[in-house]
């Protein structure tokens, strides 16, 4: 295709009117660059389209220019800042950047330090808390033991003061019951207030009774045995200073081993201890 053919084909007009694809457009530009004739023809076509465009001219609103110039100025301000700074000599720029960077660097370093410190403190406080928790548990356990001990002690004190009260009474008589021949190691004490009909047994040294058997206390008045109650045993030992049945008059006291619940009359074969009331 000669240049003349190319010019008259209408492709340049399509180019001027904007009806070509990207590739077609680049092809026309290549042709125009290679040939001054094509170049001139293309410029002519474009000029016509410029004039065609100008024949449609409409004045835009006057406010548009102000809006546009504001935007241009705003954009220029933003875009020129960097090149201006870049063209400044190195020396003034250097301290500038360090000065600008310093507070942020320090803040960054400080925040890291704070983070590490807080992490360290958290671990410390957590372990302290755990220790404290364990110690508190120990203290609570100790306190419970102490309270138990105190209760036991005060219970014993009550018992002791009760015993003391009983013993302090001037009407109270103490009778020592000694073991009979068959049971020489056995012995116990009976405290008796005849006026108030109170009988207590204490310091019981009797062997542990076989199962189903109990020790029974008897008061002997004019040769007749009177039931004075059963001796309560706990873990093989008699309860200290335990009150028995009321007895108004007796010359002696004795203990026999009887079936649980006691008997109406004593089994003398199973007599363990005996003691006379000293007048």
């Amino acid at each position: 295709m000669t240049n003349e053919d190319y010019i008259t084909s209408g492709i340049l007009e399509l180019y001027a009117a904007g009806a070509l694809s990207e590739e077609e457009r680049l092809e026309v530009e290549r042709m125009a660059e290679a040939s001054p004739e094509v170049q001139t023809a293309l410029e002519e076509a474009c000029l016509v389209m410029e004039q065609y465009a100008a024949s449609h001219a409409v004045q835009p609103a006057t406010s548009l220019k102000a809006r546009l110039m504001d935007q241009i100025r705003a954009q220029t301000a933003v875009t020129t800042e960097t090149p201006l700074a870049a063209t400044q000599p190195v020396r003034p720029l250097y301290p500038d950047t360090t000065q600008e960077g310093t507070p942020y660097k320090w803040m960054f370093a400080a925040s890291i330090a704070l983070f590490l410190i807080s992490g360290f403190m958290s671990i410390r406080f957590y372990s302290n808390w755990q220790n404290a928790e364990a110690k508190l548990e120990q203290a609570i356990a100790m306190e419970q033991t102490m309270a138990q001990n105190y209760q036991t002690a005060s219970y014993r004190l009550d018992q002791q003061s009760q015993i003391l009260q009983v013993l302090r009474n001037s009407d109270m008589r103490s009778i020592r019951l000694q073991g009979v021949e068959a049971h020489p190691d056995a012995n116990m004490m009976v405290y008796w207030n005849a006026a108030e009909q109170q009988v207590y047994v204490d310091a019981v040294q009797l062997p542990a009774p076989p199962t189903g058997m109990q020790y029974q206390l008897w008061a002997l008045l004019d040769g007749n045995p009177i039931d004075a109650g059963m001796i309560r045993m706990e873990n093989g030992n008699a309860v200290a200073m335990q009150p028995m049945k009321g007895i108004g008059a007796a010359q002696a006291f004795a203990v026999t081993l009887e079936p649980s619940g006691g008997s109406a009359s004593p089994n003398l074969e199973q007599l363990y201890v005996m003691g006379e009331v000293k007048s």
Partner: protein, 184 residues
């Protein structure tokens, strides 16, 4: 408007000032070319408000991407018109714009409404152009220039052979060239 003489400077000087990022050159550029550019954009988007937005966007683009203008490939004015045309055509092809156009339900007004034959006496009026160009010639030029259709799209949509599209475009521009030359 006639009493305010528009400051015009040569294209070479404008190009130099724009290359050196002289913002005041935009002001001159605007005074010299905004009516034509606005007219073109208005022909494409058919709506004052949108046309203003597009024109503003176009000037910002001309300013910010001026480095991409190659004066050996064509005149500054042609390049600027094409920046405006491309933005305006992108706009009408965007889905959003089509939807807003549909909801407005404004019937497409004839193009002649936007041009005023008496506005610039140094330019050929639209009435004269429509008298000289055949309806087919005018249609083909406007489809290309103001609708952004390519030669093959026109050929397909209007069922015109590709060769006819080319010859019609050529004859239209030849006719216009004669008309404009006669006035110069």
């Amino acid at each position: 408007m006639q009493n305010q003489p528009i400051k015009t400077i040569s294209e070479e000087e404008l190009i130099l000032r724009l290359r050196s990022q002289d913002a005041s050159a935009v002001s001159v550029l605007y005074d010299m070319y905004s009516p034509t550019l606005f007219g073109v954009v208005l022909q494409i988007v058919k709506e004052d408000e949108t046309a203003e937005d597009v024109l503003q966007e176009a000037f910002v683009k001309i300013w910010s991407s001026f480095q991409s203008y190659d004066s050996s490939k064509g005149r500054l004015f042609t390049w600027m018109i094409n920046v405006c045309r491309n933005l305006a055509i992108d706009k009408i092809r965007s889905k959003q714009y089509r939807v807003s156009q549909k909801t407005r339900e404004i019937p497409t007004a004839p193009r002649a409404v936007y041009g005023t034959s008496s506005f610039k006496p140094e330019h050929i009026g639209l009435r004269e152009i429509t008298e000289r160009l055949s309806p087919e010639q005018k249609q083909i030029i406007d489809l290309m220039y103001f609708e952004g259709l390519t030669q093959s799209e026109i050929s397909e949509e209007f069922d015109i052979p590709l060769g006819t599209v080319k010859t019609r475009a050529r004859s239209a521009i030849k006719t216009l060239g004669k008309l404009f030359k006669g006035r110069d």
